[in-house]
């Protein structure tokens, strides 16, 4: 119920933002149009009507999937964004995958051996990962790996192949080499987060009685870490990462601009700079919708994963 409310409020805010701050005629109509054209489009868009009626039209059209037509491309804004979405999702999923496969082992190690040099190094690394501005790291990575060393291509998406009707690039060598740097760049911040979470989890779990018992039974240390420790640190890591996936999509705006990755983040930045308002509105509405959905799914998953949450709800 609250999710629907949020989407509704956001649509209102975006609508007010675009239509009431500044002149909607200039924002929504191609600046090269002549007087007759302006009058016609104003009538079409209902700009000569009262504000609440205009908002009603906006909502009705949005529900029909019509969020306006881009000035620059001359195509429906929604279609343009949907076209770019797979690239962004691929990048975000790859970054998430990297954050997990690097973050959890490093974090668990730092949690089990906090006083060793490597453990301390991992922790300082994660502090640096929090402080480093993502876009600057991206630039420096291009400088090092693409310009100086020449190992990886600096920009673009590379060769793509269709998988279930969606173009993906991680199945070709060329695509993979294009994907590596942007995904790592995007993953850096979340990796630091995963390191911190799994370190805290490992530290806490390692002093529990069931770990002592497992050790007393003579179970191999590798098995204790992989099964007993890992299982218990997964709950906070999974839930936080679920919530942070939305953050990855939002932050891909930065990474996509640096690496010229043809996703929806790059589209929105170009649209803002070109004053392509329909795309801006469409992007914002879609992202808000995406976010509310992610939050809802994570909330539901959380109560499935951790029975304690449900018990609390019943009590309150």
């Amino acid at each position: 119920m609250q999710s629907v409310g949020v989407v509704f409020i956001m649509s209102l805010l975006v609508f007010i933002g675009v239509n009431l701050i500044g002149d909607p005629v200039h924002m929504l109509i191609n600046p090269e149009a002549d007087q007759a054209e302006i009058a016609r489009v104003m009538r079409d868009l209902g700009l000569d009507r009262p504000v609440h009626e205009q908002y009603w039209f906006f909502i009705v059209n949005a529900l029909k999937g019509d969020l306006g037509t881009s000035f620059i491309f001359g195509e429906p804004a929604l279609k343009l964004i949907i076209q770019r979405m797979p690239a962004t999702l691929e990048l975000a999923l790859c970054a998430l995958f990297m954050a997990i496969i690097f973050g959890i082992p490093l974090g668990v190690y730092a949690g089990l051996y906090p006083d060793t040099k490597a453990g301390k190094l991992i922790m300082s690394g994660s502090i640096l990962g929090f402080s480093l501005p993502t876009f600057w790291v991206g630039l420096m990575m291009i400088m090092l790996f693409a310009v100086i060393l020449g190992w990886l291509p600096s920009t673009g998406r590379g060769e793509t192949v269709p998988l279930f009707g969606i173009e993906v690039s991680f199945l070709t060598w060329d695509g993979l080499s294009h994907l590596l740097m942007p995904a790592f760049n995007l993953a850096l911040f979340k990796m630091s987060l995963v390191i911190r979470l799994s370190r805290a989890g490992a530290k806490e779990v390692f002093h529990q009685d069931y770990i002592k018992f497992a050790r007393a039974k003579g179970i191999r240390p590798a098995r204790i870490i992989l099964v007993h420790v890992m299982k218990n640190i997964m709950i906070p890591v999974v839930t936080v990462l679920g919530l942070e996936f939305g953050g990855l999509i939002a932050f891909s705006v930065v990474t996509e601009t640096v690496f010229a990755w043809p996703g929806m983040g790059k589209l929105i930045i170009e649209a803002i700079q070109n004053l392509d308002r329909p795309i801006v509105v469409a992007y914002l509405m879609i992202t808000v919708l995406l976010f509310v959905t992610i939050n809802l799914v994570v909330d539901i998953l959380y109560s499935i994963l951790d029975p304690r949450v449900r018990i609390q709800d019943v009590k309150s």
Binding site: G17, T257, Q273
Partner: protein, 308 residues
């Protein structure tokens, strides 16, 4: 509490007349850590550079009479034909990079601190109101906070700047709106605890006005956690502003922050002219890390739960 009682006799022996005020205790605790002391000294240097940038910069990078296009894209440690030394090289328009960084630091720090302080006042007031009055006021304010915090800061800033446009005032407005919720949440948490204490009850019995109780009694006791949030949030704000300016939707070209300087160097990266982006980035990184280190130590010192 025990740290206080342990240290008190020592102090008493050394200087019998000296009174151990909370502020002096705080200073002593803070400067116990060498890293934190170094970070604080660094922060002072950074603030000094930012405040006095026009006086200590080797050249004025935005004075067209001084800037010579012939000097453009010189590598670090090169000299202009008239003898000016460019320690960190020059950018595409022939501006001395070191001076540009000093001026950029001024803009970045100014925007970060201004938005942090305004957000603190705004968020702090809302948080205090929510905690003091409770009930419906609390529910409404905290629901707005929760909803806003469920979106990442960069997305909120993007929405606001897409609507507002470019400009120093606009980015400050955007950063304030992005940050206020953190302050509101922090101060509400501590104010809820403080509100149940006897001194508030006593003040209420004296029939003092709501305003007086909230600002004179409640607020000073909620400040310590706020100070920590201010440092952390200012670092965030500086980083976010740099990111937005880099994307070309933050500050206008006329107000070059560190983010814009980095963006300017982007086009020269492919021809190995690394320094135009590299050094402003280092300046940004050092600023953020320094503020974060100071904030970390403040959190340790001011958190009553961590005091042994």
């Amino acid at each position: 509490m025990t740290a206080q009682t342990q240290a008190a006799p020592l102090e008493a022996v050394e200087t019998a007349t000296k009174v151990v005020t909370p502020f002096r205790m705080f200073l002593r605790d803070y400067f116990e850590s060498r890293t934190a002391t170094a970070a604080f000294a660094f922060l002072l240097v950074i603030v000094f550079i930012a405040v006095f940038a026009p006086f200590i910069s080797p050249t004025n990078p935005y004075d067209l009479a001084v800037v010579d296009i012939m000097d453009s894209r010189l590598p670090p440690f090169s000299q202009s034909f008239d003898g000016t030394m460019y320690w960190l090289g020059t950018d595409g328009a022939g501006r001395d990079l070191l001076s540009s960084i000093f001026y950029g630091l001024r803009t970045s720090l100014g925007v970060g601190v201004a938005s942090g302080l305004i957000a603190m006042m705004l968020g702090g007031s809302f948080g205090l109101l929510a905690a003091y009055f409770g009930g419906k006021v609390d529910t409404v304010i905290m629901r707005i906070v929760d909803i806003q915090l469920s979106f990442p800061a960069i997305l909120v800033a993007l929405i606001l700047l897409a609507v507002l446009g470019k400009g120093v005032d606009k980015i400050i407005v955007a950063l304030v709106i992005v940050q206020w919720a953190y302050y509101a949440r922090t101060i509400r948490a501590s104010a809820l605890v403080e509100r149940r204490k006897e001194y508030v009850e006593a003040a209420t019995c004296l029939a003092l006005s709501h305003r007086r109780i909230v600002f004179k009694h409640l607020l000073p006791n909620c400040l310590p956690p706020m100070i920590v949030v201010v440092t952390v949030q200012t670092a965030h704000a500086i980083s976010l502003e740099a990111t937005l300016s880099f994307l070309g939707i933050g500050l206008p070209i006329t107000e070059p922050s560190l983010g814009l300087l980095i963006a300017n160097g982007f086009e020269y990266m492919m021809s190995m002219k690394y320094w135009i982006s590299f050094f402003p980035g280092i300046a940004l990184l050092v600023t953020i890390v320094t503020i974060n280190l100071v904030g970390d130590q403040l959190r340790d010192v001011l958190n009553p739960r961590l005091q042994k």
